[in-house]
């Protein structure tokens, strides 16, 4: 076996048993790694009757084959399991420095079941792991926990840590790696919390990987790297971070404002865009392992009511979710809110979207002061959000904290009044900060059919629709017109496969933009020796997409769940998409037909599943 180690740690926290498990080598090729391999192992090994936060629930961390390769955007990994937010199978991707260290330590992944008797952490060194007491970390914010871990295990150690929100089982609690890189979505922090698992720590390891063809891999990465450095995406990301084009997105109507009720605000665009963050608060840039893009921001804010010490700055999604969605143009406040969210350990997208929904509900009188514990939820009031709302959610304290800790869908179902109509979510997962009504109608289809719920990275539609992909080698070389349904279902078929490949090979969707599809294939083959052809690679991507849909069907999802809310489909009032209706049902019907989906069940028909070796 090359690149992969063929070894996965299995840890049962009930009895502290630790073993090493080696999946069939053929599975690596068929499911690539990362979220694909995790989905396959979950499908084969998980107890489907097990609630998301049950001690026996399975939590998987899985590297892609490229983790550890000295190349931009490939040292990522996936978390997978049943989401406490959506109650279906979910995944979340994270970069940083943990994935290559896990690989260098000799493991491709970790499968965790059981619940520790007391707060614990998993400590991994080369070839082995141990479960140790973490009482000294429990209750600490993520940044504090990260510092304590570095003091105890060394400054070069890498960690995955949950915050108070994870400990209190907030449905959208996240996991942060080294207090910066996030497994943000779907509530994996709560799963760790439910297992009394505060952290996973890995000692620094030296590089020690073997590849299928090291010489050719080295030549290829050397050839591509200058192109990545020069690419306009890289330059924007490096100069201004992932919020670099917020202003541009705003002018198309792609940025949801005030809980998806508005689409344009010139002052907000200028104040919150990435160049403003860089000009005002950037102290330095940071990157994931081996990456030349360096899109991460390190910021400091002084002389402000929202002052923060030097540390991680917000990503685009955080800026839009805690700024635009809450109708605030106050950049310092948004950065502070992002920092608080990180420290408490909550997904900023779900947190922002859920609070935005609550603000609208409060405005409409669907939430009263009784239900908010006397807190007035006013648009743009980030002071209240920072000081009262976020801490209440993380602690699941009071009526408001408890209500919002379940996410917007469950909160809306709880208060009724058809307030579900103005949530922005699919399958219970709050939509990311790209509004299909302005950003592109294909996004709407992608949000609806994405296995984990409203998501713009589980498929490649977002980048294909915006013009950032050109893959003539697999037939994608045409331009898509954003605000129509033309060619969107056809593109979605390819997008489903490409997205599954990206999340399984664990490519960063920023750093891989300058790559051709052939180069992505070559990188995987030269490192792992899988020997995929273009056709088998695309087929593997489709297999993974279908498998995730199959898992979720076992959890009860059907076609009716491939839906968006009224708010997401009502015509936008501003931006390029103002007044235009999304032809959603027509796109969905065509996609179902192209994927050979059963019209009711929402999964592929038997012949397709057999062809893909899923039956």
């Amino acid at each position: 076996m090359h690149a992969n180690t063929g070894k996965i740690l299995r840890i049962n926290l009930d009895d502290n048993s630790i073993s090493v498990f080696s999946p069939d080598e053929e599975l690596y090729k068929k499911y690539i790694g990362g979220s694909g391999l995790a989905a396959k192992l979950f499908y084969d090994m998980a107890d489907f009757n097990c609630p998301a936060l049950d001690p026996q629930a399975m939590l998987i961390f899985m590297n892609g084959p490229l983790a550890g390769v000295k190349f931009s955007g490939t040292s990522r990994m996936s978390a997978a399991g049943r989401s406490p937010l959506t109650n279906i199978f979910a995944e979340s991707s994270c970069g940083g420095h943990f994935p290559p260290q896990l690989r260098y330590a000799g493991f491709d992944g970790i499968i965790i079941t059981g619940k520790a008797a007391k707060p614990s952490l998993i400590h991994i060194t080369r070839g082995k792991a141990e479960i140790v007491d973490a009482g000294w970390l429990w209750g600490t914010p993520i940044s504090t926990a990260n510092e304590k871990i570095k003091t105890k295990f060394g400054t070069q150690s890498k960690s995955l840590v949950i915050g108070p929100a994870g400990e209190h089982l907030v449905s959208f609690a996240c996991i942060l790696s080294n207090a910066h890189h996030a497994f943000g979505r779907c509530g994996f922090g709560a799963i760790m919390g439910s297992k009394n698992l505060k952290a996973i720590v890995i000692d620094h390891q030296n590089f020690n990987q073997s590849y299928y063809d090291s010489a050719k891999l080295h030549t290829l990465t050397n050839e591509i790297t200058p192109r990545i450095k020069e690419h306009i995406f890289t330059q924007v990301l490096n100069d201004f971070g992932s919020a670099g084009n917020l202003e541009g997105h705003m002018y198309t109507g792609d940025v949801p404002i005030k809980n998806w009720s508005e689409n344009f605000n010139e002052e907000m665009a200028e104040n919150l865009t990435g160049s403003t963050i860089s000009e005002r608060y950037l102290t330095r840039k940071a990157s994931c392992a081996h990456c030349v893009v360096a899109c991460k921001r390190i910021i400091r804010i002084e002389d402000s009511p929202f002052a923060i010490s030097e540390g991680p700055g917000p990503e685009y999604e955080t800026v839009a979710a805690l700024g635009c969605m809450l109708n605030s143009s106050d950049l310092a406040a948004v950065c502070k809110a992002g920092r608080v969210c990180n420290d408490l350990g909550m997904d900023s997208i779900s947190a922002g979207a859920t609070i935005a929904w609550a603000m609208e509900a409060f405005e409409k009188g669907h939430l009263t002061l009784h239900e908010t514990d006397g807190i007035a939820l006013e648009w743009g009031d980030l002071c209240t959000v920072i000081e009262k709302v976020l801490p209440a959610i993380a602690a699941r304290k009071g009526n408001l904290g408890m209500l919002l800790s379940h996410g917007s869908k469950k909160a809306a179902e709880h208060i009724g009044n058809n307030s579900i109509s103005y949530t922005a979510q699919s399958k219970g997962l709050e939509a990311p900060m790209h509004d299909p009504r302005g950003g592109g109608h294909g996004h709407a289809l992608a949000y609806a059919v994405s296995p984990r719920g409203a998501c713009h990275v589980s498929t490649a539609m977002h980048f294909m629709e915006t013009g950032a992909c050109n893959y003539p080698e697999i037939g994608f070389e045409f331009d898509l017109e954003a605000l129509t349904d033309e060619k969107k279902p056809e593109t979605m078929v390819l997008a489903a496969s490409i997205g599954s490949i990206e999340n399984s090979a664990c490519f960063c969707q920023y750093a891989d933009r300058p790559l051709s599809f052939n180069e992505m294939l070559e990188l995987v083959n030269l490192s792992s020796g899988y020997g995929h052809t273009l056709d088998s690679f695309i087929e593997a991507g489709l297999r993974i997409f279908h498998l995730k849909r199959l898992i979720n069907h076992r959890y009860g999802t059907v076609r009716a769940d491939d839906a968006l809310t009224e708010r997401m489909l009502e015509p936008a009032r501003e931006g390029d998409g103002a007044g235009i209706l999304i032809n959603f049902e027509s796109m969905l019907n065509k996609f179902y037909s192209l994927m050979n989906f059963d019209d009711q069940k929402g999964i592929a028909k038997e012949e397709t599943l057999r062809k893909l070796d899923l039956l």
Partner: protein, 145 residues
């Protein structure tokens, strides 16, 4: 062979008139000038160069930037090279600049991130381009979807 432009002079005539209008527009002009950059557009088929100076004080009253048709010595902060026909369609709002860069139709250099602030603003000029073509009697060059 260009579909829209017979020669370089014709391109300069059209873009010269267009830029006069846009850089003199009291609504759009100041927003464009806010970018504060010098940008050079290089066209192929027909070959042409246009430099727009949004950094230095304009050379005329009542405008918010200066432009130069043909080769000039001003050092640009950023340059963009593309076929003239692609640019013609772009100014009609019919070309996606991200797709143009992705496919290598548009080449860029220099401080390309400086153009970020310009792109959203110039969208509002897309409606004006066909109007100015009409004003100078070149309705034949108006492109529709």
């Amino acid at each position: 062979m260009s579909k829209y432009y017979k020669n370089t002079e014709e391109l300069y005539q059209i873009y010269g008139y267009f830029l006069e209008k846009v850089l003199g527009d009291p609504k759009i002009g100041p927003k464009i000038a806010k970018s504060g950059i010098i940008i050079k557009f290089i066209y192929t088929d027909p070959d042409a160069e246009i430099t727009i100076d949004l950094k230095n004080k304009p050379d005329k009253e009542g405008v918010y930037g200066s432009f130069y048709l043909g080769k000039c010595d001003i050092e640009p902060d950023v340059w963009s090279k593309q076929p003239a026909d692609h640019s013609h369609r772009f100014w009609h709002g019919l070309e996606n600049p991200i797709a143009g860069v992705t496919k290598g139709i548009i080449k860029q250099g220099g401080k390309v991130t400086a153009m970020l602030k310009l792109l959203p603003v110039i969208k509002s000029t897309f409606q004006q381009f066909p109007i100015i073509l009409k004003e100078i009697g070149r309705e034949d060059l108006i492109v529709t979807k």
